[in-house]
């Protein structure tokens, strides 16, 4: 295990919960949405405009109706018309207004029907796009990335941050767009009604803006803090759940709850503050709107009483108190709508801040450096003639070759894939300052079994990390069949290596699917044969559904040893010329291990095997055993030679018998 897992992550990397969104996140987000869904976006925008304007026009209609009615009443009272005569007088224009209303509203309903549906499609499509591109990008990242980031932190980009983004896209952004359309339209209307009153509105809105900025800013701050608290609590719960058995065995439930309470109270505290600010924002802004409403009525009434002439964008109006009064009456609901719109938008502030912070983290994940690969030597199927010349071919022949194009002269040479590994004076450190492997040299010929022995932290696993280029060496050379592995395409290099890792990772799916992971086109028979080889067939057949038993990530009732057997079977079906077994049998009893070894030895006849183990019985029959200490090979030789030498290996081996 690379020791850098314990290195503290610099603040603000992927998964940091505390930073605000980077500048330009909104722009990038919108550009991304637009880039992938231009047509949908345009359609949504058109519908949003129609639906917003429909809402606004309600006030215009009110004004129209009120004007006509006032005219009708004055016709009755001043001109002495009967009600039916007055009715006949105003009916045509009233009807016109009603029909227009019906048309506009129908259009509005259709628009809102369309845009809500389109929005559902747009949001989910975009989330799907961003999820998959995040996932796809992630697949290209080097192992170093995964070693230096906690799984939970990366996961939060897929869960919390994507959720926040959904909120932002499906609610806040359309709300913002629709609100700004309404605000602009209302503005024009208001100016059209009365500039005096509009000036008052501007002043009020400015006040509302100031309030929103100060309260909303505090609220946003605590919302971000709440996210940190959630992260901390989640981390704690995860750790406790992971060690649930230990908690039980030690009756530590009370203490676990105490620890939880501490985190929980912190979270509650932050949540309370965040929500308090968010909650009081609406009544404050809303009631400022109410006060403004009163002020408008007051000032308007004053203007009428004082006999002022109304000013609109078309200039000063004729002195007409009755008309001015109707204007004020129509202006009032508009002002209410206007401030209401602004109050509503202020409510979106938190989701915008959180959504943007989420988007910013998602972008950070997507901007990581992918694994570099400058390799150009590839692995191809080939046919070998009697005279030893190699021809590339498409069909299966059971032979593989390295295809090595030479840039200098444009020729291509083929080298047969054999599994010969050389390491020459290799130095390596996970961080440049700390070299963990010194001057490692070794030669593994096809058919050889090379074993590494040594304490944890001696650098055994590190060596395998270098052969498959999970990490790149600092100095020295590694050659595969005589080719520097830096020249080999990583995918092809890894394809030629069968690796069974220390930590067994199985995937959700059936047992059969898990074995087939080693070779996607393997037949059932091949998989079963591999399982037999790994001595796993026996226990698999005893599972409830045999090879079709579903395995879940952590739930399955497989023992540690059984999981290891399965991962060996998975490597066996891959059938690679080089096999690396990293503590692959540590939880398997020695008797079963001997049987597994017999199987793998048969499989690997004539091929290269690297074995890493604590248990010396695992490595005894290796051709050469390397004893590692602090990143140096301190002894090498066969079991017999090393025993005869009486050095470190001898001490390790005889340790058990010393006391007797």
């Amino acid at each position: 295990m690379p020791p850098i897992k314990s290195v503290k992550r610099p603040a603000g990397g992927v998964g940091g919960h505390h930073e605000r969104a980077k500048k330009g996140t909104m722009k990038r987000l919108l550009a991304l949405i637009l880039h992938n869904n231009k047509r949908l976006m345009t359609a949504v925008l058109i519908c949003l405009i129609i639906s917003a304007i429909t809402g606004v026009l309600s006030s215009v209609f009110l004004n129209g109706v009120l004007t006509e009615l006032t005219r009708g009443i004055s016709l009755i009272n001043e001109n002495g018309l009967t009600t039916s005569e007055a009715w006949a007088e105003i009916f045509p224009s009233l009807l016109k207004i009603f029909i227009t209303m019906a048309c506009v509203y129908t259009a509005g309903i259709i628009a809102s029907f369309t845009y809500t549906r389109l929005m559902a499609i747009l949001t989910q499509t975009f989330l799907h796009q961003i999820r998959t591109s995040m996932f796809n990008k992630m697949q290209s990242y080097p192992i170093r990335f995964f070693d230096t980031h906690k799984t939970g932190d990366i996961m939060s980009q897929y869960t919390n941050d994507t959720d926040a983004l959904r909120q932002l896209i499906s609610q806040s952004i359309p709300n913002l767009i629709s609100a700004s359309i309404s605000v602009v339209t209302l503005l024009v209307l208001m100016l059209n009604f009365s500039i005096w009153l509009s000036l008052l509105i501007f002043f009020g809105v400015f006040m509302m803006f100031l309030v929103t900025k100060s309260i909303g800013g505090k609220s946003a701050k605590f919302f971000l803090q709440q996210q940190i608290a959630i992260g901390k609590e989640e981390g704690y719960v995860q750790e406790m759940m992971h060690g649930q058995k230990v908690i039980k065995v030690f009756c530590h439930e009370e203490e676990a709850i105490e620890g939880f309470d501490e985190k929980n109270n912190q979270l509650c505290d932050d949540a309370r503050k965040a929500h308090t600010y968010a909650n009081i924002l609406m009544p404050i802004v809303g009631n400022l709107g109410n006060i403004l409403y009163v002020l408008i009525a007051f000032v308007g009434g004053l203007l009428v009483v004082l006999g002022a002439r109304n000013l609109t964008i078309t200039g000063f109006q004729e002195y007409d108190p009755a008309a001015f009064l109707v204007t004020i009456m129509s202006f009032l609901p508009i002002s209410k709508q206007f401030t209401g719109q602004i109050a509503q938008t202020s409510q979106q502030l938190n989701s915008i801040v959180m959504g943007l912070a989420g988007a910013s983290r998602i972008f950070a994940l997507m901007d990581e450096e992918p694994e570099q690969d400058n390799g150009y030597v590839t692995l191809v199927r080939c046919r070998i003639d009697d005279d030893g010349t190699i021809h590339e071919c498409k069909e299966r022949t059971g032979h593989w070759a390295w295809k090595h194009p030479h840039q200098a002269d444009g020729t291509i040479t083929y080298t047969e894939l054999k599994g010969d590994i050389q390491m020459v004076d290799v130095d390596f450190g996970y961080v440049p300052e700390k070299i963990v492997l010194h001057d490692i040299s070794l030669y593994a010929k096809p058919g050889q079994k090379v074993a590494f022995v040594g304490a944890t932290g001696a650098g055994k696993t590190t060596i395998t990390n270098l052969i498959n280029r999970f990490y790149d060496i600092a100095d020295g050379k590694i050659r595969y069949d005589g080719i520097n592995i830096n020249k080999i395409k990583k995918a092809d290099l890894r394809r030629s290596l069968g690796i069974v890792l220390q930590d067994t990772n199985l995937f959700t799916g059936t047992v059969m699917e898990n074995i087939r992971y080693g070779k996607l086109d393997a037949t059932d028979e091949e998989c079963i044969a591999a399982a037999k080889l790994a001595y796993a067939d026996d226990f698999i057949r005893r599972l409830p559904d045999g090879y079709n038993t579903m395995l879940t990530a952590d739930g399955a009732n497989l023992s540690q040893g059984q999981r290891q057997l399965l991962s060996i079977a998975r490597a066996a079906v891959k059938d690679a010329p080089v096999m690396i077994l990293d503590e692959a049998t540590s939880s398997i009893d020695t008797r079963t291990e001997a049987l597994v070894q017999k199987g793998t030895d048969r499989l690997m006849e004539g091929r290269t095997v690297f074995v890493i183990a604590h248990r010396l019985s695992t490595v005894q029959n290796a051709d050469v055993i390397m004893v590692l200490e602090f990143g140096n090979i301190i002894e090498r030789g066969s079991h017999k030679e090393l025993i005869a030498k009486g050095g470190k290996y001898y001490q390790l081996y005889t340790g058990a018998f010393e006391l007797e």
């Binding site: 697949q139 065995v249 009456m329 209410k336 498959n468 991962s567």
Partner: protein, 615 residues
């Protein structure tokens, strides 16, 4: 995969269960809606008073044709019967009242917001606490049922969803209908026949909403399952990245995830399209309601020459209409929110309602007499659904103070056997006795405090070594900790750490080696001063010499403690009083090293395979 249909929890019991977590936040939870009501009343008064003001201006300026008697009364009161009332003064007086009301409304609104935040965050806190506490009482059978990942999601995301809903319910869900009702009342008081128009649209709306809800709920339940599964697969991918890369399966994984994500997308779109019907439906009802009001209103005003209805009234009627519209929008928004969190509420209730399958009995035995262990006809399987028993027909007697070794092939149920002793699982039939009493009769804490078990999959917690050690005994002195570590052969390497016993262990113990971790875990168990010590393959990463030293010190320093050792190495068990050989969930042989070496084929094979060279 679980195919069994879960028994669904009724709505009322669910609300009761969740409501049980409100506790000390009841006051805040009740104050919130009370403040909201005051706020709403004040808010609704504003347009009404406004109408009065406009009426008053008309009355005073003499332009009123058909003055409202209430307005006349108010004007009389304000002008105190003066001949030439000052219209300005009236406007100012009205204005001050209105501004005062708006201020009060602001204060009550802010108060309701504050108490709402207190109530909802407190409720969420209690929910999380109750769930976590509940989970701590779970047996492994319970935990296996939910899976760890799902429990974590329930504790975090689901609680947040419910918290948001709760906030909605005590504040907005009170505000919106109350606003609706109040606006309706005001509308009725202006003109009852016209307000009836609103009542006509309500059934259409209610029916529509009902349709959307009933269709969408099952949809959402299914989606959340899928969504969880998708996220679990991402986690699996991240954890297994080394496997993915070694097998060059990046493209395979991309395709797999792409499919899962696409299927989630499709389902979400279907469900959200349903929900999206909400908005146009609402618009339809409100817009055509407004047209109807205009038509009826115009007829009324003109035909009665403002006797039945005045133009100013039509205007304030419209203000209430808009308020009704806003409330309806809010109601529908709340419906959607609550709908989305319904699935979360169910998932939380499932945890809160889950009964631990292992609890202390009444009149539990409070003392473990000695370290003897007896298995009588024990059969055991992990779940009732499992066809095969993990353990069958186990009969075993271990005397107090004995050392017992257990050896067996991979998957032979060695771990299953010892897990029954501290009652981590219950037997399916038969009985396990510790100190002569069935483990099911003990108080669980007493039993587990007497049985120390070092697990195969060891876990250390983030914290210093000392803190980790005190898991074994809260009150252990530094000397006791050091002694235990010496026994477990851990003292030496701890002394080599820069901070010695105060060295910080990272989460999961990733910064100590496997062998060091195992020794720390043994020391932690020793601090419990147990009557029975179980080592489940706990020295596998320790070199043979240290392993021997540990066994030696156990024998010398805690002779009365019963020691049960599961091991792969014959050397670890060969000087035990009794060696048990297990195969396929049954005990196939039992005896001392010499007997087994003579008579048991498996044991011989194991012994010689491990000691080939030595012979």
């Amino acid at each position: 995969m679980k195919k069994k249909k879960k028994k669904s929890i009724g709505f009322i019991p669910m609300v009761k269960t969740l409501g049980g977590s409100i506790r000390e936040y009841k006051k805040a939870s009740l104050l919130t809606p009370a403040f909201v009501m005051v706020e709403v009343i004040l808010e609704c008064l504003i347009p009404w008073i406004m109408t009065l003001l406009l009426g008053a201006i008309e009355v005073v300026s003499g332009t009123a044709t058909n003055p409202d008697p209430l307005v006349v009364k108010i004007v009389d009161f304000l002008t105190r019967g003066q001949e030439n009332p000052n219209i300005l003064l009236i406007i100012i007086e009205f204005g001050l009242v209105l501004i005062a009301i708006a201020f009060l409304s602001l204060i009550f609104g802010a108060l309701s917001g504050k108490y709402c935040a207190i109530a909802s965050s407190g409720f969420a806190k209690n929910l999380r606490r109750d769930m976590f506490g509940r989970i701590q009482t779970f047996s492994f059978a319970n935990i296996d049922k939910f899976s760890t990942a799902s429990l974590v999601t329930r504790l975090t995301t689901d609680v947040t969803n419910v918290e948001m809903s709760y906030m909605m319910i005590i504040r907005t869900a009170v505000r919106a209908p109350f606003m609706l009702i109040f606006s309706m009342v005001m509308a009725f008081s202006i003109n009852a026949s016209m307000a009836l128009i609103f009542l006509c649209t309500s059934p259409i709306l209610a029916l529509g909403l009902y349709f959307i809800m009933t269709k969408a709920v099952p949809f959402f339940n299914r989606i959340f399952h899928k969504y969880d599964a998708m996220n679990e697969s991402v986690e699996e991918n991240i954890r297994g990245m080394r496997v993915v890369k070694s097998y060059v399966r990046e493209d395979f994984e991309k395709e797999k995830f792409g499919k899962a994500s696409d299927s989630v997308k499709k389902d979400f779109i279907k469900a959200e399209k349903l929900i999206a019907l909400n908005m146009p439906l609402m618009n339809f009802c409100v817009y055509f309601g407004i047209i109807a009001i205009y038509v009826v209103g115009s007829v009324l005003i003109i035909n009665s020459n403002q006797k039945l209805m005045q133009i100013t009234q039509l205007q304030s009627f419209m203000t209430y209409s808009f308020q009704i519209l806003m409330s309806l929008m809010m109601v529908s928004m709340i419906m959607v929110m609550v709908l989305m969190s319904y699935a979360s509420a169910v998932r939380i209730t499932e945890v809160l309602k889950e009964k631990s399958s292992i609890t202390s009995p009444e009149n539990a035995v409070k003392e473990v007499k000695d370290g003897s262990v007896v298995f009588e006809n024990v059969n055991f399987k992990y779940s009732q659904k499992a066809e095969k028993y993990a353990l069958s027909d186990i009969d075993l007697e271990i005397k107090s103070g004995e050392t017992v070794g257990i050896i067996g092939a991979t998957g032979s149920s060695k771990t299953s056997l010892v897990q029954l002793i501290p009652r981590l699982y219950d037997v399916s039939s038969g009985s396990v006795k510790v100190g002569g009493i069935d483990v099911r009769n003990y108080d669980i804490e007493v039993l587990r405090n007497s049985v120390a078990m070092v697990l195969q999959k060891n876990v250390l917690f983030s914290g210093t070594i000392k803190e980790n050690m005190r898991w074994g005994n809260k009150f252990a002195t530094d000397e006791q900790i050091e002694d235990a570590c010496k026994l477990a052969q851990a003292d030496e390497f701890i002394q080599n750490f820069p901070d010695k016993y105060d060295s910080y262990i990272e989460q999961g113990g990733v910064n100590v080696s496997g062998g060091q971790k195992q020794r720390l875990c043994i020391a932690r168990a020793l601090l419990k001063n147990p009557k029975i010590l179980i080592l489940d393959d706990s020295t596998s990463a320790v070199d043979t010499k240290t392993d021997a030293l540990i066994r030696h010190s156990l024998k010398t320093y805690i002779p009365e403690t019963t020691k049960i050792i599961i091991a792969q190495r014959i050397a670890s068990v060969q000087d035990a009083d009794k060696i048990i050989i297990m195969d396929g969930g049954a005990i196939t042989a039992m005896g001392k090293h010499d007997d087994l070496l003579k008579n048991n084929a498996i044991y011989q094979e194991l012994y010689y395979s491990q000691n080939k060279e030595a012979k």
